[in-house]
Symmetry: C2
Subunit: 101 residues, 2 copies
């Protein structure tokens, strides 16, 4: 079943945009790994936070993607820029009022 991973990554002051650019670097291999959606964003209320909204074919697909070279490289590049504050929610998607319509 489709797996949703929605998260927030706290960054060190002034490092938000650098983390955004790492996350936005094209990673076409994610599709092959089962990524259906991967949106990166920010908001004004949290100037030192990057938000991600991901949909995956399964929780296993998401887990497996963490072993991809490009993902491991992005994580190690971003880690020094992060504050350590992380949040988020993971859930199984049951459906959509606009997809089956």
């Amino acid at each position: 079943m489709t797996f949703a991973n929605v998260g927030s990554l706290g960054t060190k002051p002034g490092q938000r945009d650098a983390v955004v650019s790492i996350l936005l670097r094209p990673k076409p291999e994610l599709r092959g790994a089962g990524c259906l959606l991967y949106e990166v964003g920010v908001n004004e209320e949290s100037p030192d936070t990057v938000f991600v909204c991901e949909l995956w074919e399964s929780a296993e697909a998401h887990q497996g993607s963490l072993k991809l070279d490009s993902v491991r490289a992005a994580i190690s590049e971003a880690m020094p820029l992060l504050s350590g504050e992380m949040g988020g929610t993971r859930f199984t998607v049951l459906g959509s009022p606009i997809r089956d319509a």
Copy 2:
């Protein structure tokens, strides 16, 4: 810019599935109102919570959708089943590592 609305709706004990079915009721008019994605789900850690992950053409589109008859009807039908506990995050989408790839 694309607007993400990710939220969690606390339900009264035993009412989660009823709220899910209200949210999953087909609402094709949401697309016309600017809804790009509307996923509804649950997880095992929070048995009395429904999660939604929405993408809209803009924050204004999302706001405007709250005036749709079907949305107002769904909200009033679901309200008595909710615990009042709500969470979530709203953010502006800057891009995706898989969409521009």
